[in-house]
Symmetry: D2
Subunit: 312 residues, 4 copies
């Protein structure tokens, strides 16, 4: 980031104007439909929030509406596991970009069951396995951790999505069994999948999501309550992997055009970390071909450009 | 980068101590031996230089010794081509990480002759094709551009390396012909290879390399002479691709542990960009399994850690 | 086959001499050890049998000892499914060679869950799915079919192997779940795996195996009891796929050196079909790097060469 | 082959009726258009010939019209090289099916420059390299060999095709340079390509083609003049590789439906070997998606079915 970003006289006004602009875009993308529960979401909802490390939250649109965070939850799981496992975690999952168009089983076979990074499905399943093996009640622990970060108890799992995921999880089951055949899953595969789908089914609003990730913009410390969430080094590391691998096979393009660590989910949410400044959370359900929210991408790209937020 | 990095009372002393430390490392890695001319280099040479955007250069060890910059030259070629071709460049080469263990021909076939990014060999060959097609004397233009950036006429091509590369360039020829079969090489393949090998064979010292890339740390403007080398947006973009793809298949790990845009070459050189601060150039010929300089990696990792230079 | 093969005055003597020769070979290969129950087999056992379409059976060595037929069972499953499904079977599994060094998950992903042929694991799992979906008691039906072909009730499943397979079946589970994600498995995956492992755990002797496959050498008709097992066209088809894909990634070499349709299993058994003549069954537990019995390969190669049995 | 095939009272009549039937087929497929010289051929030509090992030739349609034999020439090159190099040939090219949808560069990289078999382009280039390295005038030697087999001097190279191939040969150049980078091409790549394209550009009629391959149906001996062309073992071997790999990625299906060793070319020709009986040669320029002649496939399938020619 180039020194202090320009603070607009009224950040909320800027957010509203970018949201209005995004709504004017030609209707593009389509809502994730691989599970019925996700396909049922109202497609035109749109929200935007920015939490800054001074604890303020600005927002526009449907920023208080809870949505399915899906793969954004991989950040929470990773931080939990890094805290529990330390550096030994990286013997079971690498930190290199995947370079595969899809969350692919191919690379997993080539590389003997060690996933390329914790933000592809295979990597997140290994992380889930660590949590299932560590905690007696890993799902409750995951929800508690997210609530602690978002500073609220009002975060829940969408049970319809959770059960729908389990019914349509054959590909993730294939990934998990393949890794188990290489010895890289310790717990029983159904338990690992259960934790993974539970975590993906957490619902949060843009405001909650932005607040919950502030520690990554603030060297591991939650700026609101000064709690240490992870080490400074680990905050850098998570941001680094987000930068190379957080936006599916559009990660390079996102670094190129936006220049921020970020993670998206097929529920239409995107969270972008601005080191030493804050967190941007955007949401709109329609996805582009890479699985990233069309309008969410647009709003974050414009905001980062106008405020000069690129880390490069 | 977290605000202003700590400026040590004497940066040169720090560089010297890190270089001394690197020399004490157990003897590891081996000099690139795929061409005889590179294999002949004295293996224990080591240099380190930091150029800051105020125009100062600090250094230690063999920082005035010219070495073969090899793939570091891909940065110069890319900036030249971006200036000439504008955004149309990105229709012929993507900006996504490769995710392949080697500079692979596999992905090129899957993706119909469009290389994943300009820092893998295939991508650099497309860039070379653009320069060969644009300039009547592309090799001279390349050398002139590098000299202009390094603020000296005293930069040359090592003819032994140049001819040695040409004799051992069958794999690059395979990449180029495959791309030509997909219509993504315009000029004659031998001419493209000639330009590519010429550019790889440029010799520079750590000091020259650090100076020559300062514009990337300074929004596109060379801070010494205030010349505009590229747009601010393009400087961000080059740094972004360096961050995801500059260090071969160790790019993710480098982002994870160091957190800086960087490019390495099999001559043992590494250049790391610190936005708004300066450029670090390290050189030592022995390479690890990924093709990155062992001691160069060590010195840059330590320096970035001690000065808090990570962009994340 | 070149007209009528030379009938040795005493085929049994020839079999014995080839078996003796195989026993003299330098100790090579190793017993399959991916499941404990298979690893426990006495490694030096060796048997050889030839059943001819006039109903005679000649043999040497341990030709009455039952061994785990493993992948040889894929022939039986395929014929059962061809009889039940007709040509619609080939919409769910292809008949092309795999060309992959291992029973790979890669190709399955590329080709959208349609296995290359019924003799790789993925293809045999699709076949098992057809049988599970068709029969109320598919395992019993499979065993009944094999007993009918071998003209004896004295064929059983090795329960230790069966349960051991199920405990070590993660890779097959990965294949099945991946195909299910593509819609190419109809039944529940655990049921499909159960049938598959049951079928693999059938034990037969060389003599039984040779007799049971005579119908493939005789245009679909069991020559002993004149029962029609499959159509003449389907017998040709099974032999064709065996010729291109029956010997794992050594299928091409086997066609090249022996020239007979054949199937091997990791229990050390090999069955080779000689159209219009008979069936050769060989068994010895130590496997080469491709998973084919070392001594079994040797005996069949010599026998086919000396009797001039190549179909080419 | 099941004993002696039924000899129709008049084989010529059968050929004519099959050809008439093929001409009635709905217009399908398209003429190869990757080089202009091939695209210019009249698309509705069609010929069929059968040469039997008693030296007779029956035919129908345009069986005397010379067409570009293209990949069918790989058989001639392979036999030449087998005669010159002996078993050492098989250290530089394998005999396994490729299993790749296209003549792919992928597998070549995985397998370190050793092509899967001599009938994919990469393998034929290695064979061409052997001939170029062995003969002082390899192109003349190739043509002489083909004329000797076809028992006529009236066989020529189509120079328009030859030069057109050279101009559009970038993909083959990529394959050759990649193999050279692995040390599996000895001569200069342009010389190897020149020989390869020359051989592909030979023109033959169906009658000439059928006669020229009779030695493969007759244990290596040309039945017309009793000359020994290759060993009996090598004739079996060539037929074996044809069976698993001669019809591109439709080889398995061709074995399945026809059951004969065969080779096709993008000029629309197909030659099928019937061991101990003769050779079928069919030609019609329109190709299916696999690169095999639509009407040629139809005529051979019908003929083999009606005469019971399958080797299985």
């Amino acid at each position: 980031m180039e020194g202090t970003p320009k603070q607009p006289s009224n950040l909320s006004l800027l957010l509203q104007s970018l949201l209005d602009e995004a709504q004017q875009l030609p209707d593009a993308g389509k809502v994730a439909d691989y599970i019925p529960a996700l396909a049922a979401v109202a497609p035109d909802q749109i929200g935007l929030a920015v939490a800054t490390i001074d604890g303020q939250v600005h927002s526009a649109g449907d920023a208080d509406t809870a949505f399915s965070i899906q793969s954004v939850s991989k950040i929470f799981g990773l931080v939990q596991a890094m805290n529990r496992k330390g550096d030994s975690l990286w013997q079971r999952v690498h930190m290199e970009p995947s370079g595969q168009p899809f969350n692919s089983i191919v690379q997993l076979e080539w590389e003997h069951g060690i996933p390329r990074n914790p933000f592809i499905n295979a990597g997140a399943l290994v992380v889930a396995d660590m949590l299932v093996s560590h905690y007696s009640a890993s799902k409750a622990a995951a929800l508690t951790f997210i609530r602690r970060l978002a500073l609220t108890e009002q975060i829940w799992v969408d049970n319809a999505v959770y059960h729908s995921e389990k019914e349509h999880g054959n590909r993730n089951a294939a990934l998990a069994y393949l890794m188990k055949s290489f010895g890289n899953i310790e717990a029983e595969v159904p338990d690992v999948l259960d934790h993974y789908f539970y975590q993906c089914s957490v619902e949060m609003s843009c405001k909650q999501l932005a607040l919950s990730l502030l520690f990554l913009a603030n060297r591991g410390i939650h700026p609101v309550n000064e709690q240490s969430i992870c080490s400074r080094r680990d905050a850098h590391r998570v941001n680094a992997i987000l930068s190379t691998s957080g936006m599916y096979d559009q990660s390079g393009e996102f670094a190129f055009t936006v220049g921020l660590p970020a993670k998206s989910g097929v529920g239409g949410g995107i969270a972008a970390i601005v080191p030493n400044y804050g967190v941007i959370a955007a949401w709109s359900p329609k996805l582009n071909n890479f699985g990233n929210s069309c309008r969410g991408m647009h709003m974050i790209t414009q905001l980062a450009g106008q405020l000069g937020l690129s880390v490069y």
